[in-house]
């Protein structure tokens, strides 16, 4: 092998005992991947390859799907989840697609229920999401609603989708459904949940709902999607289709599949009940401290200068007693502390044990039944939009976007 090989080159591969023909794909750590005519890939030492020709690249066919102008308009704001993807069987590369036509090609049923406008906000893995992008996202959604969209679908990687949904819930008051959706199994596979989730998200976006929600598989079967409030939802499994669960309260409703019948509970905020309003400021100097037995109070010092800290405490909402003095100091210096529980389910109550009472004494606010991550996002928004820590503390105790309940229902 002397000349440089390019993807798509036809190569002959000479191994001890046999030769074979194939298409060169790429080389990694000295091993070249060759796609044989049978479709199989094999890895061979690069020096076993001889170029014998170049392949002719066929022009990809793009099927434009005609949109029906008499259908309601939904905007799809994409952040980089793979709701639509294409496979190049020649190289095996799977690429995410974001144009409206790509999405409509991947999920052909969509074009029959609405017309779509696609906005590609960014193309990132959801673990690389930042508060700055949350702000852009809220702004983009706001602008789409203002421009007449009757529902919004946000495609998002599932890892941090719940954070983003919570962030948008605080920043944006919406009269129309804002539906976050993703898929747990990649869109290239025939069994992907992208089609059902995408269709159900569209169903929810056209419904009488009027708040920020996550719509994902409701069970392991392809029978329905659950509608979760953006501030009560959590990814509770690494890989299952029904990984997203509403914690501590009821789901807002369901979307049946394939009928797309939307059923909403009485607690769901309805379309038009809220006026469009955007308040996107965030204080990013906030963090979560997940307490563990024996955790040194010194670790808190690493958060010096932070405006707000969510404590994910044990049980009813505790840290070790040796944390109290350090919290008191930082509180006095202006840091807002909010206690949540690692239990995730149930309400924080720091009035039962001495440690709790002492934490309250040190300035910690009980986070009620808020999820730790939701409390974090809320704290960012509250600190970004209040005049002083005291006002922020007051706001943290109030339910602003359905993130906390007054009563723990049985």
């Amino acid at each position: 092998m002397n000349e440089k090989l390019e993807t798509g080159d036809i190569v002959r591969c000479t191994l001890k005992g046999c030769t074979c023909e194939g298409t060169y794909i790429a080389t990694r750590e000295g091993m070249a991947t060759v796609k044989l005519t049978s479709g199989y890939n094999i890895g061979v030492p690069q020096d076993a390859l001889t170029k014998t020709g170049s392949s002719e690249m066929a022009e990809p066919q793009i099927t434009e799907i005609r949109q029906k102008s008499d259908l309601p308009l939904i905007s799809i704001v994409s952040t980089g989840g793979t709701i639509a993807s294409k496979i190049d069987y020649r190289t095996g590369a799977v690429t995410s697609q974001f144009r409206a036509s790509d999405i409509l090609n991947a999920i052909p049923g969509l074009a029959t229920i609405a017309q779509f406008r696609a906005v590609q906000l960014c193309n990132i893995l959801s673990e690389n999401m930042t508060p700055a992008i949350w702000q852009q996202l809220a702004r983009a959604i706001h602008d789409e609603i203002k421009a007449g969209a009757q529902g919004i679908i946000v495609t998002h990687g599932t890892d941090t989708m719940a954070y983003s949904a919570a962030a948008v819930s605080f920043m944006l008051k919406t009269p129309v459904p804002v539906v976050f959706v993703g898929s747990q199994r990649s869109a290239d596979r025939p069994s992907s949940d992208n089609v059902m989730n995408g269709m159900c998200a569209a169903g929810a976006a056209l419904s009488t709902l009027g708040e920020v929600v996550v719509v994902m598989h409701g069970s392991t079967s392809d029978d329905f999607c659950a509608i979760h409030r953006g501030t009560r939802v959590r990814k509770m499994h690494t890989s299952r289709r029904d990984a997203f669960q509403t914690i501590g309260t009821e789901t807002l409703g369901t979307v049946s599949y394939p009928a797309l019948e939307v059923t909403l509970n009485s607690g769901a905020v309805r379309r038009g009940a809220t006026e469009l309003f955007l308040k996107e400021k965030l204080e990013e100097k906030c963090g979560i401290v997940w307490y563990y037995p024996g955790m040194s109070p010194d670790t808190l010092s690493a958060w010096n200068g932070y405006k707000g800290i969510i404590l994910a405490g044990t049980g009813l909402g505790h840290s070790g007693t040796d944390f109290i003095a350090r919290i008191k100091e930082m509180h006095a210096a202006g840091t807002v502390f909010v206690m949540t529980s690692q239990c995730l389910n149930g309400r924080v109550c720091d009035r039962v044990y001495d440690t709790g009472r002492d934490l309250l004494g040190a300035g910690v606010i009980e986070g009620e039944d808020m999820l730790p991550e939701v409390a974090l996002v809320k704290l960012m928004w509250v600190l970004g939009n209040s005049k002083n820590p005291d006002e922020a503390r007051e706001l943290m105790k109030q339910d602003l976007a359905g993130e906390m309940t007054r009563r723990s229902r049985v």
Partner: protein, 614 residues
């Protein structure tokens, strides 16, 4: 039909799929156990859909499966996990399975792939929850001792077991499967069957493959000159392979004859189906009378050909029907077979008139919901057009007896793309060289004939037996080959024929019994009753106590004394010739718990005493 396969230009190759007997599945840590459906722990359902490839085209085979949007149901077990559910990424490739495949590759003198890449092969018939089957090319280019060329050896995951139609059981999904593909190097039906037998022998020689019905499946690729490559799936019985090849050749020859006849007749196909629903409003056929829609198409010049037999039990009409069924219809009617099925001669005449069909034409009708009818008609027209080409490239499934039915078009290479969730595996020279090549069963048989003096049939049975290694261990421990063979093979076969559950017997327990026989504690005559007791769940000690209670030398002497005294007249009359009959009586009494030799020795002494006493 001519049997001169060379003149017909027969070319055939086979693919053999064999389940490997590994501890865990290929891409998860579940056991490779087949379950009963009543042990299932739950059920779920999914839809599968074909994804578009780079070129904006669906794979033709995948597309055909998608003609009906189908819901697939799956049964789960306490031996299946989220990987089978397609809800967890796969575990790394099972190394135990890879070693077995590499070993077989080594036996066939193949070249291992330096770095193994796992691929996703699109399969959307529901048998894989993911919609693809994971498969990896492991080695290339080998030769069997008989001369057949092996092109490739792959390691794949087994598909889910179909319970019925769109209902599957997940226990089988993910069991490692070796796929051995020969080149199209065979030219007679018998050669195909012999090659399959030889590959089967090699697989069994490893002692690492699963046994029993359904654990091995043969796919056969066949074409004749001017015909086309047809892949016949899932031939399970080895003995049927040659017949399947013969019948496929017969089918291709018949289709080529039909092609010539169509050309001679200047046949053609109408483009547009005609709605004939009204004609059958009062029809004696329930299917037609109740149908929401009946569509008819005229095939000009096809009369007699649609009904012509092309294989035992199969006609050109059956082929068209197979295509139509892909749209969900139950089948079709054609005028070559009408009037029949409750359709009267008058209705046939009306039908022909409605489509202006003449004597030489054939009319085909389908009855179902409008959408299905239209879909089925498209398929029928497509298949009728193929008749002008002769033989279509197809994947077919075997029917009972060896004829075949259409399954789907032959898949193209475009159905594979990399399984990005599984790391590549480098096969080092050290790893390949360190693999021990097992003795081939054919060689084992020769060795048993030569070294152990077994007869040919018994040597063959023993060599193919699951108890082969226990048998060899017993001989290494000093047991005589003939006795070991009886214990591990012949006696078990006899007991099995009598209905005993011999699979319950542990090799280790048989070994213990053999040691007791060797040391003289148990007589070899007791072997059969002891094994029977073991098959009933008894421990070796219990089995010996029941089948051969312990008799001390003193007790034995006393028994013999008593019997000899009782029969002293008989002994005196017959002399030494009495030994045999008396021996039988003694052996019956001690029920095989004493070696016949010892009984014989004491008995002879006792008899000679009687004879010497006046």
């Amino acid at each position: 039909m001519s049997d001169d396969y060379q003149a017909l230009g027969l070319i055939a190759g086979i693919e053999i799929h064999q389940q490997l007997n590994t501890k865990e599945k290929l891409f998860c840590r579940c056991p490779t156990t087949i379950r009963e459906t009543e042990d299932s722990t739950g059920e779920f359902f999914r839809y599968l859909r074909a994804t578009k490839s780079e070129m904006g085209e669906l794979d033709r085979a995948a597309e055909e499966e998608m003609m009906q949007v189908r819901q697939f149901r799956y049964l789960t077990y306490d031996t299946t996990c989220l990987v089978e559910n397609d809800e967890e990424p796969p575990a790394p490739l099972n190394n135990e399975a890879l070693d077995i495949v590499l070993t077989i590759a080594k036996v066939c003198g193949m070249t291992p792939v330096p770095e193994i890449h796992t691929m996703r092969k699109l399969v959307i018939d529901g048998s894989n929850t993911s919609g693809f089957q994971r498969t990896a090319l492991v080695a290339m280019n080998g030769t069997l001792p008989g001369g057949a060329e092996i092109e490739t050896v792959c390691l794949e995951e087994e598909a889910a077991q179909r319970i019925e139609d769109t209902f599957f059981s997940l226990d089988r999904l993910g069991i490692p499967l070796i796929e051995i593909t020969t080149s199209p190097c065979m030219h007679t039906p018998e050669a195909v069957q012999e090659t399959a037998a030889q590959i089967g022998m090699i697989l069994r020689s490893t002692g690492r493959v699963k046994r029993g019905l359904g654990t091995i499946r043969q796919d056969i690729n066949i074409s004749i000159r001017e015909g086309a490559r047809v892949e016949i799936k899932g031939v399970q019985e080895l003995d049927l392979i040659a017949e399947v090849v013969r019948r496929e050749v017969q089918r291709q020859v018949a289709l080529l004859e039909i092609r010539e006849e169509l050309k001679r007749r200047g046949a053609s196909i109408e483009k547009t189906p005609v709605d004939v629903t009204a004609l059958f409003a009062e029809c004696g056929s329930r299917v037609l009378k109740k149908a929401p829609m009946i569509l008819g198409i005229k095939l000009n010049g096809f009369a007699g050909l649609v009904g012509r037999e092309i294989q035992p039990g199969r006609r050109l009409g059956s082929e068209m029907s197979d295509y139509a069924k892909k749209c969900g219809v139950g089948g079709l009617f054609h005028t070559d077979e009408l009037p029949a099925y409750g359709v009267t001669e008058e209705e046939v005449a009306k039908l022909k008139a409605a489509l202006s069909a003449e004597e030489q034409d054939c009319v085909i009708i389908v009855a179902d919901k409008p959408q299905r009818c239209q879909c089925a008609m498209k398929q029928i027209i497509r298949r009728a057009e193929m008749a002008f080409e002769g033989v279509a490239k197809e994947t077919r499934k075997m029917l009972e007896g060896g004829s075949t039915a259409y399954m789907r078009p032959l898949p193209g290479a475009a159905r594979m793309y990399p399984e990005t969730d599984v790391f590549q595996v480098r096969v080092t020279r050290e790893r390949f060289e360190a693999l021990e090549v097992p003795e081939m069963i054919d060689d084992t048989i020769s060795r048993y004939l030569k070294d152990y003096g077994l007869t040919k049939e018994v040597a063959r049975q023993m060599a193919y037996s699951e108890r082969r290694s226990a048998f060899e261990e017993a001989i290494a421990a000093g047991i005589k080959p003939a006795l070991a063979e009886r214990a591990f093979n012949s006696t078990l076969r006899e007991l099995s024929r009598e209905g005993a559950q011999v699979s319950r017997i542990d090799d280790e327990d048989i070994g213990k019994i053999l040691q007791s026989i060797q040391s003289g504690d148990v007589a070899k005559e007791a072997l059969s009753p002891i094994l029977k007791a073991l098959s009933e769940g008894k421990s070796p000690d219990e089995a010996c106590a029941i089948a051969a209670p312990k008799v001390s030398e003193d007790e034995l002497a006393a028994i013999i004394r008593r019997i000899v005294t009782e029969r002293s007249d008989f002994i005196k009359e017959r002399g030494n010739a009495a030994t045999g009959p008396v021996m039988g009586i003694v052996m019956k009494e001690v029920r095989g718990s004493v070696d016949g030799k010892i009984v014989n020795q004491i008995l002879r002494e006792a008899i000679s005493q009687v004879l010497n006493t006046p």
